[in-house]
């Protein structure tokens, strides 16, 4: 028995001991995460606050248009048009002016969004069957809102014209518009898939990079290296708890989005989780790569921000549509992992499509994972050796 016990350390036991060490190392890492309550709280609060803000506050639909009416010679028709505007919930008449002179100052101070100028003799022209003139002046500093406001005002005025009597011989084409995948144009539906990418990046790239460099900065990485743990075990032990944390928060975001804001989930949950895992691996590889090449937490932080967070937020289509970007920036966006993940996540959640429509994006992510993981492992073992 005793000889057996003496012989085993040479063969199987160290392996077992190492595995035990790996578990212990992971437990230690979990404690590190749980101990820093403040960071944990903020990491949880960031995505949840975003879901709430995007769910309730950040809307692009224009529903309160502050109008200044320029009505130099009020008559029956201008009064009728004005009350027509007031009756439309979207419009609010904030000023009634006798001439257009104060408009410039009004717009400069942000007192109104658009002005509707009615010509003198509006009612007389209308009665006589001559075209009565209306001019819309919008504060076009925000181009999209300006276009939308004009469209709404046009609809009200056209309705008014129709009510005042048919022009005779006019034809009407009714345009039945349908918004596919997001009928209410709610920004939360578009943003939740992006938010999952954001959470996974934040935790798997930024947090791992910082936590690895912290061990470096404090010199504890050297201690770990002389322990029975192999380099890959150090990395796995470091990153595994973060993967779990990232997934938990991503699930929480999904649950909040589906439960409170009724964000649709039309596709397969399993597929989305699988793709999320792939995306997490890409982010982790980036995080490890950054940690291997930096020495201080501050540089790691900045590198992670510039190298992962910024492109993943700005060049991925989460907020700004890629189609609107200039060609060179669209070319750069091709190497941004989140760009591909967003297409996948939106496809699964909003369109309900499967792998058949998403194979290209998945293949790109898989390729990125392989290349980045290889680079990360190489660069990390080179630094450690």
């Amino acid at each position: 028995m005793s000889t057996m016990a003496k012989r085993t350390p040479g063969a199987g036991a160290p392996h077992a001991r190492r595995r035990g060490a790996l578990t212990a190392f992971m437990i230690k890492e979990v404690w590190h995460i749980l101990r820093d309550r403040q960071t944990l709280l903020v990491i949880l609060a960031i995505p949840l606050a975003q879901v709430v803000l995007f769910g309730y506050a950040l809307r692009t639909d224009i529903n309160r248009i502050r109008v200044a009416v320029v009505d130099p010679a009020p008559d029956y028709a201008t009064i009728a048009l004005r009350s027509r505007l007031t009756a439309t919930p979207r419009f609010e008449i904030t000023h009634v002016l006798a001439n257009a002179a104060p408009l410039e100052t009004l717009f400069r101070r942000g007192g109104a969004d658009m002005a509707i100028e009615l010509e003198p003799g509006f009612g007389r022209h209308l009665k006589a069957g001559e075209p009565a003139r209306v001019a819309f002046v919008t504060d076009a500093s925000d181009p999209n809102s300006s276009t939308t406001r004009q469209a709404y005002a046009t609809a009200v005025v056209n309705d008014f014209a129709a009510q005042m009597g048919d022009a005779g011989g006019g034809v009407h084409i009714t345009l039945d518009q349908r918004m596919r995948f997001n009928p209410t144009l709610a920004s939360v539906n578009l943003f939740v898939p992006g938010l999952i990418a954001l959470v996974l990046t934040l935790i798997s790239a930024l947090m791992t990079a910082i936590s690895l460099t912290r061990e470096k900065e404090r010199g504890t990485l050297e201690t770990l290296l002389v322990s029975p743990l192999r380099p890959w075990q150090i990395i796995v032990g470091k990153v595994a708890p973060y993967i779990v944390l990232g997934f938990l928060i991503a699930l929480l975001v999904l649950a909040a989005a589906a439960g409170v804001f009724h964000v649709p989930f039309r596709g397969s949950v399993a597929l989305l989780l699988g793709e999320s895992l792939l995306y997490t691996l890409v982010s982790l590889a980036l995080g490890v790569l950054i940690a291997a090449r930096t020495t201080s937490q501050r540089t790691a932080m900045m590198a992670a921000l510039v190298g992962t967070m910024m492109p993943n937020v700005l060049l991925s289509g989460i907020i700004f549509p890629i189609a609107s970007m200039p060609g060179w920036l669209r070319a750069v966006s091709v190497i941004v992992p989140a760009r591909w993940f967003i297409v996948i996540a939106r496809g699964i959640m909003l369109e309900g499509v499967g792998l058949a429509n998403l194979w290209l994006e998945t293949a790109v992510l898989a390729l990125m994972t392989v290349v980045l993981l290889a680079a990360a492992v190489r660069s990390f073992s080179a630094r450690l050796a």
């Binding site: 820093d36 403040q38 960071t39 960031i46 606050a49 803000l53 995007f54 809307r59 692009t60 309160r64 502050r66 717009f107 101070r109 209308l126 001559e130 009565a132 003139r133 209306v134 002046v137 919008t138 076009a140 500093s141 999209n144 300006s146 276009t147 939308t148 004009q150 469209a151 609809a155 056209n158 014209a161 005779g168 006019g170 034809v171 009407h172 084409i173 009714t174 345009l175 039945d176 518009q177 349908r178 918004m179 995948f181 144009l185 937490q297 501050r298 540089t299 910024m310 700005l314 060049l315 907020i319 700004f320 549509p321 189609a323 609107s324 970007m325 920036l329 297409v343 909003l350 429509n357």
Partner: protein, 364 residues
């Protein structure tokens, strides 16, 4: 005063010694401005349109021609099958379908009214709404053209302050605000927590340096560097992006100087709460996220629900973004921006006082 001078010399030296840090401070905003300036746009591009024409008449072809000729749509495919069109949308080859049902022309002639269906891929959000309003205008114009009757009311429209409807002109003044806010706040918070983490803050506390001197010694260098950054960004915005400046350069710079007091004050406050640099960074992230999203920078303020608008009115970023846009795009003068400016002054004073007090409590 002498002590403050020494502290300032030390801080400037520390910043200028760390080449990497200096590069981050000065180069980062430039890179960010170039990337963000190009990326941060909700400009509505031409929608790729799939045409399902089941009518095949002069009238239906006329409608398609008007849509494509408007410059708002380009032809992405055509077939009489809705199923094929749907497939094209799912494969992301097109982002809009126009469906002209059979009997379109006949209905127009006999009943003087006919329906047309427009389906938009709303995955890109606001763009779909804007494209829809363009489509509405084109279809109405076509109907008016067909009826050849004089309209009862003739509508003309003018776009003031931004006749080309340029998105750059609108976003870049706001992005400049975002850059100096993130830079200044993060730098302040991390700089002070670093002294805390390394332990040099305790050393400083036992020297004759007073708290006011210490804080002034920390804030003045960051404040001045961020102001230089702001000026550089402004020049780049004007030279590279041709963003107009109808108002006064000095006015926005002066407002920036006041605004930064509030922004750095927030960073100072964070540094009193956080123990480590990592914590400081995450807390700053969280605060800035809310500040920036509720600033009207990305979505119109008037579209927000009332409670969010109230929150926005407590937000210094909102006032500075509004002032920047008003001065640069609309040529607003001091008299036009006096209200938001006063709010910023009050905000800066309050935040700075609170942060200094909190700081005194923490280290006392």
């Amino acid at each position: 005063m002498r002590i403050l001078r020494f502290l300032l010399r030390k801080e400037y030296r520390q910043i200028f010694r760390d080449r990497l840090m200096l590069a981050q401070i000065l180069l980062m905003p430039v890179i960010q401005l170039v990337i963000l300036g190009n990326a941060a746009t909700f400009e509505v591009t031409r929608a790729k349109l799939y045409v399902v024409d089941q009518d095949h008449t002069v009238a239906s072809r006329g409608l398609v021609t008007r849509l494509v000729a408007s410059g708002r749509f380009m032809l992405g495919g055509t077939s009489p099958s809705m199923a094929l069109a749907d497939q094209a949308v799912l494969q992301r080859r097109v982002n809009a379908i126009v469906n002209i049902p059979a009997g379109f022309e006949r209905d127009l002639v006999t009943t003087r009214t006919a329906p047309v269906q427009l389906i938009l891929d709303a995955k890109d959000g606001a763009a779909a709404g804007v494209t829809a309003s363009y489509a509405g205008r084109i279809v109405n114009g076509y109907a008016a053209e067909l009826s050849r009757a004089r309209p009862r009311i003739a509508i003309s429209s003018r776009n003031w302050f931004n006749p080309d409807l340029s998105y750059h002109d609108y976003m870049i003044p706001g992005i400049l605000v975002e850059l100096v806010t993130i830079g200044g706040t993060l730098l302040t918070a991390i700089n002070i927590t670093r002294e805390k983490e390394i332990g040099t803050l305790d050393q400083l506390n036992v020297t004759p340096v007073t708290r006011a001197q210490f804080i002034a010694g920390k804030l003045i260098p960051i404040w001045s560097i961020t102001l230089v950054e702001f000026a550089v960004g402004l020049v780049i915005a004007m030279l590279l992006f041709h963003v107009p400046m109808y108002g006064s350069f000095a006015l926005v710079w002066f407002v920036a100087a006041v605004y930064l007091v509030a922004a750095l004050g927030i960073g100072l406050w964070v540094s009193t709460v956080a123990e480590t640099q990592q914590q400081a960074m995450f807390v700053v992230f969280f605060l800035l996220l809310i500040y920036l999203l509720l600033s009207g920078l990305f979505t119109p303020l008037t579209s927000m629900p009332v409670w969010a608008q109230w929150l926005a009115h407590l937000n210094p970023v909102m006032y500075f973004v509004a002032i920047m846009r008003a001065v640069m795009m609309k040529g607003a003068g001091p008299a036009d921006v006096v209200v938001p400016f006063v709010v910023l002054v009050v905000y800066g004073a309050v935040v700075l006082t609170l942060a200094v007090r909190q700081y005194a409590k923490r280290t006392g």
